[in-house]
Symmetry: C2
Subunit: 465 residues, 2 copies
């Protein structure tokens, strides 16, 4: 499908920084006429106090990669909305490839709302999620794997996930795919020569078996990185469970303190748990602190227990804490027998300082308050989560289920070709398999694409990206 | 005190956009050596894909108000952290007045953390709250009322509050104060002439009584704007109360929908209420949705009731909802008799569609589900909150308690001078009063200041501002 058909010529705008109070907020605009449309709201300010850009040309004549200091004004009334700096980017040398600008205003929700409203009135449309990046793709600034990486890099939870996404952003997957495609194209060319001149050299191998095996391996290796990519990008849910007062929140806070991480509370009518993302051995661990187990006294608490159970079921690993000073009781034993699968359960003997009882076999001793045993516990968690796999990969790591499915389609087609070859199926029939493989690879990078595919990809983006 | 003594020469950095995942994040750096320090981490990128700034000078030689495209790298290993754009500002023509820069990176917490860590390693110190603006003040870019306005503008909740803060940022208070100071200085000069030449023209009025009265009125008017300023900036707490199922949450959501406002949940171990800020007649109304009243069944619920009571006591206005289909019951009556002060209570007859009972006298009929009666209710709320006052003011509106106290000190001194004059107290004694008034006014704009005052002011700022 033609890229041009997908292209929307109107000018778009969106907040690019998170919503909230802060020093600075960024509002993006992009589109062929965006600079002239914006210039109706912007008034450059002469160098008052030395901050301005006195004597500089108006916005529409500003050079790319320069900034203008001034104010945003209501066109009719002249009312000043905010003092701002506007960064100007010129078509060809901008993120989207179009004329575009970034407005740096004070990070006040009242100001952000007001400026966006003025931009709408001036004819800007609010951008769809990922629409800036979609335009960058349509303008040939990025291939589709790079466009996906833009979103993945924003969502990266640990440094390793960031590095993997950055490598994708720099085009590592696109280069890999291109090399595989070139290899398969060469095979296809050989096959087509043989179709055109079937009489020549019948004894000679049409394509090298070794080469076919090589490209198949390359595809398999790339597919196999998806498991790591998914762990790196999405993280592993790990839940803290145990009776009330077993020290779950203390351990939760201790883990977060180690990592200086940010706790995000779960939104909803009733908040029964906290979520915090910590990096353990470069794996993002999504840690859940739940309501404690106890004999439910009334229906409200029973409801809470149910929600805790739901989180436990959704987690990959359960850290079950027992207070060493009170020991294992009936409720704990019930839990253990209900969760016998040792792969997902780590039993923790907490408050070792408060008790003389020795740590029982199968338990892991910690002192959540002081952090004693915590580092070793992290290592045990990482070991369980990886299960023998390694995070290291010589290949670029893929994180997109879309890319994985297409790689598998290419791989399947290549295998079909090999089988067909060994079964002496006519070459003109087999050629279709190679073309199918090339098609799937082309779809990964976006050479072959459709509106539906693009909608699917970009709808998962942040607005403003 | 000398401004120079307060001045810290080191280079500072902080995140200037809100923490969170977003398209773009902004990291600020400032300090005499900030650009050369940053250049060790930054590598400009030639115009690959047309986005770069090929052939442009390195960061340290970049002109002010220009942007550089490139990557942030770990100095030793060369590892790439992110693709960024750096905005360069030169001493004299920057926000702080120093060399400074803004790094626009992908809005990923992992990236923000990593870049900040690299900046710390490169010698940057994490900025204190408001330290960028403090430097702007110390470098003479802003007077103290403008510096305070920077923070007030970020915190502005409605458009009217934003406009008032922007006017302060543009120096409206500083200009007003200066005109009052000039007036008082002229009076002081006349007094001093008379002290030096006591024999001349004893019958002539030393200073015009009318002039004294004028400056006193000017000060009084400015002081009186504080009430409006406080309402505009901080908003008015209004609580929704009533029995369970009276429709509090429905009304809460209806108000927010009208205003397209953002709900922020209250952080804490137990979240019993929601807070949303809506603008009614340009007044920011902080709306609280609380747990419903009922006969507490157990201690946990009693605890919840207590917290609801606390919010109700802290609110300026109570919207008490009664479900029209069930009518007023014992619990409602108890609440009404406990909160007889009609100034703070608005009784609401909700679900008018579900009941044939007429709305009782003293109740306000609404249908929270459909929004019927909501606009009128907003008007009633605004009327109650303003209590006859007007939001309009010809004067610049002050919002800072610090400024208010200093204005009152100046006002008190001016009144003392007038009283002394009428009591024929010696002029050399009275001169002290005028100097006291001038001192107080000088402290408002920051001509006279101390480390303690500055610490107090800037510690309330966002980090990164």
């Amino acid at each position: 499908m033609q890229k041009e058909n997908l292209y929307n010529q109107d000018s778009i705008t969106a907040l690019a920084s998170p919503w909230g109070e802060s020093a600075v907020a960024i509002i993006r605009v992009s589109g062929r006429d965006s600079l002239s449309m914006l210039s109706g709201l912007f008034e450059g300010r002469a160098g008052s106090g030395g901050r301005g850009n006195s004597g500089s040309p108006p916005l529409t004549e500003a050079k790319g990669f320069t900034m203008k200091h001034g104010v945003i004004r209501v066109p009719g009334s002249g009312e000043e909305i905010d003092e701002v700096v506007v960064a100007v980017y010129r078509a060809g040398r901008s993120y989207t490839g179009e004329n575009s600008a970034e407005i740096f205003c004070h990070g006040s929700p009242a100001i952000i709302k007001r400026i966006l409203d003025l931009l709408y009135e001036a004819g800007f449309r609010h951008a769809d999620p990922g629409e800036f990046t979609l335009r960058a793709f349509l303008n040939g600034k990025l291939d589709l794997t790079q466009a996906e990486a833009v979103n993945e890099i924003v969502r990266a939870k640990t440094d390793r996930a960031r590095a993997a996404a950055l490598s994708r952003l720099s085009g590592s997957i696109e280069r890999k795919i291109r090399s595989i495609k070139d290899g398969i194209l060469k095979i296809l060319a050989a096959v087509e020569v043989r179709i055109d001149y079937p009489e020549e050299d019948l004894e000679e191998e049409i394509v090298s078996e070794r080469e076919l095996e090589h490209w198949q391996e390359e595809l398999e290796k790339l597919v196999s990185t998806y498991g790591i990519g998914k762990i790196l990008q999405e993280g592993i849910p790990v839940v803290l469970a145990g009776r009330t007062n077993a020290g779950k929140s203390t351990l939760f806070n201790q883990f977060l303190k180690e990592d200086r991480a940010i706790v995000s509370e779960i939104h909803g009518t009733t908040r029964d748990y906290l979520e915090g993302v910590v990096s353990m051995g470069d794996i993002p661990i999504k840690l859940y602190d739940t309501a404690g187990y106890k004999m439910p006294a009334h229906s409200l608490e029973k409801e809470g227990m149910k929600r805790t159970d739901r989180i436990i079921r959704a987690s990959r690993l359960i850290l079950y804490l027992v207070d060493a000073s009170t020991g294992v009781n009936e409720l704990d034993r019930e839990f253990f027998s209900a969760n016998q699968n040792s792969k997902t359960l780590i039993r923790i003997w907490n408050k070792i300082d408060l008790s003389k009882r020795p740590c029982p076999v199968g338990f892991f001793p910690v002192n959540a308050k002081t952090g004693e045993g915590i580092i070793k516990l992290s290592e045990v968690i990482v070991e369980r989560v990886l299960g023998g796999r390694s995070l290291e990969s010589a290949e670029p790591i893929i994180d997109s289920i879309r890319q994985k499915k297409l790689l598998e389609r290419a791989l399947g087609a290549l295998k079909d070709f090999r089988t067909g070859l060994s079964e002496n199926i006519p070459l003109d029939v087999l050629g279709v398999d190679l073309k199918e493989a090339l098609d799937a690879l082309g779809e990964i990078t976006g050479e072959v694409t459709s509106q539906d595919i693009l909608n699917e990809i970009f709808s998962h983006f942040c607005v403003g990206k």
